[in-house]
């Protein structure tokens, strides 16, 4: 009886302590990608690790910026973009659809 009571009290204190009982669920938000050459490949390579919102909310950027971002993802964050062809596809898609028209 006493044991039971202690257990109940323990459980109660846990619930009171944590505001979210049993954890949280982060909602899925769709950030649609612009249609364009390379969209399929880019979706696979970028969105595996983070939302498209993270990419698109960098603003419209130069080709150099997007190239450096992709290289950072590969070198620093170990993104599995292996070939030069894949790098070009992603950079070109980003620049054509989220570019500011400037190469530098």
């Amino acid at each position: 009886m006493m044991k039971k009571l202690i257990l109940i009290l323990l459980l109660m204190s846990t619930t009171l302590f944590a505001q979210v009982d049993g954890g949280i669920t982060i909602p899925y938000i769709d950030f649609p990608m612009k249609e364009g050459k390379g969209v399929y490949s880019t979706r696979g390579k970028c969105n595996m690790c983070h939302s498209w919102g993270y990419t698109l909310n960098q603003g419209l950027q130069s080709k150099k910026f997007w190239y450096e971002k992709v290289m950072k993802m590969i070198i620093v964050f170990k993104a599995p973009i292996k070939t030069q062809e894949d790098i070009d596809t992603v950079v070109n898609y980003l620049f054509e659809n989220y570019g500011n028209g400037k190469l530098q």
Binding site: T14, F17, A18, Q19, V20, G22, G23, I24, T25, I26, P27, Y28, I29, D30, F31, P32, M48, C49, H50, S51, G53, Y54, L56, N57, Q58, G59, L60, Q61, F65, K69, V76, F77, K78, A79, P80, Y98, N100, K102, Q104
Partner: protein, 401 residues
């Protein structure tokens, strides 16, 4: 059925935080983008906020919130670096490890933190170094924040110093590295680790478990986060679970490359001539934001209008906030609150006046700190590649009817 409705909604929402438009000339800093709407999808423990990403969560507080000295937890901005965030933390088993160059490696539970150390409370502003980045032209790299990547809360926890003392730092320890529970998708990716030089350790740096009298919200780092008053939020590690003392500075991307500005007098550079020598962003510069009215508000001619906002700096304290309603020619002092929350907190301000003419009216605010530093006009702020440390004089435009 419900699910489908949700996705339909989500698509509409996604556009809301899309790339903003600006008509400013290239190269001249303007005011940050100010017309973004909150999402209609709320994140856990939050009200709907301006939503830039769900993975990792990137949420901005709307301007209207900056009328009060404390930012409510459910309106507080959110910025994570890594997309894999634990969705459940058991407060009864959670511990933080202190290791590296210490006499005794220890693990401290939440309960021990709350019972075996001196409990301290302080109020401090948490602001992303890239807050208001949209002011910079050309577009600087990073999330295109408006004015709301900031908030002010009353934090409760224990001094970092006391916890380190319990483990006993070895003489040769010079750097303290902090790591949280968020992870990248690939295990090869380095964690978001930040470091503090021991010379910068002080009594105000705390491991906080409470925010505005409640447990930290998950998205603000439940159950424990680092609070470093006066400096930008890049080192305020969330869900902090590991502290390592080292002799040498570790080689870390997030220390060597990210959150740095040109190490020159103007802290500025140009896109075609980036400065090689850089320094960390660190201390926050003086800033103020008008929370009411906002651009697009309609106010009655000759009515009693009370402008409200908040001002802060890196801990020297706010000396005055001034308001201009003539484009920045004449400035009049706003009333400041009593400042009882301390020098690291927002000072809420008010300014009452009667608009005299109908039509568009621009209201500006400018803060000056105790050091005499004042906010520059937006156009006088020079560019840096990361779009950091914007603190231009704030401005909103209302319609007097």
């Amino acid at each position: 059925m419900e699910r489908r409705d949700f996705f339909k909604k989500a698509i509409v929402v996604a556009g809301s935080a899309a790339v903003g438009t600006s008509t400013l000339d290239a190269g001249e800093t303007g005011n940050p983008i100010d017309n973004r709407k909150v999402s209609d999808v709320a994140f856990p423990e939050k009200r709907p906020l301006i939503t830039y990403s769900d993975r990792p969560p990137l949420l901005e507080t709307p301007r209207e919130v900056f009328t009060s000295a404390l930012t409510p937890n459910d309106l507080f901005f959110v910025r994570w670096h890594m997309p894999m965030i634990p969705k459940y933390i058991n407060p009864n088993t959670f511990t933080i490890s202190i290791n590296g160059l210490v006499e005794k490696e220890i693990k401290v539970s939440l309960k021990e933190l709350k019972t075996q150390f001196k409990q301290v409370e302080l109020t401090a502003v948490l602001q992303c170094g890239g807050n208001s980045r949209t002011a910079f032209k050309p577009t600087a790299g990073g999330i295109q924040w408006g004015v709301g990547a900031m908030g002010c809360a009353r934090w409760k926890g224990v001094r970092l110093k006391d916890v380190l003392k319990k483990a006993g730092l070895k003489k040769e320890a010079a750097w303290i590295g902090f790591n949280g529970e968020d992870k990248a998708v690939y295990s090869e990716t380095a964690n978001f680790v930040r470091e503090l030089n021991l010379e910068h350790l002080n009594d105000n740096i705390i491991l906080a478990y409470e925010m505005n009298g409640e447990d930290l919200p998950y998205l603000n780092g439940y159950p424990l986060r680092l609070v470093i008053p006066g400096v930008y939020s890049d080192s305020w590690i969330k869900m902090i679970s590991n502290i390592t003392a080292t002799k040498e500075k570790q080689k870390l991307h997030f220390m060597e490359k990210a959150y740095r500005i040109p190490d020159n007098e103007c802290e500025c550079e140009t896109p075609d001539n980036l400065v090689k020598k850089t320094k960390p962003i660190e201390e926050m510069n003086v800033n103020s934001i008008i929370g009411y009215p906002v651009t697009g508000s309609k106010v009655r001619n000759a009515s009693d209008l009370i402008v409200r906002g908040v001002a802060f700096d890196g801990g020297h304290g706010i000396k005055k906030v001034q308001i201009s309603i003539d484009g920045g020619e004449m400035w009049e002092d706003a009333l400041l609150n009593d400042g009882s929350e301390g020098k690291y907190a927002y000072r809420a301000f008010t300014y009452a006046f009667k608009p005299k003419n109908s039509g568009k009216l621009t209201i500006m605010c400018k803060a000056t700190n105790e050091k005499g530093e004042e906010q520059p006009f937006a156009k006088d702020i020079k560019w840096n590649h990361g779009g950091y440390k914007y603190n231009g004089i704030d401005k909103i435009t209302v319609e007097v009817v």
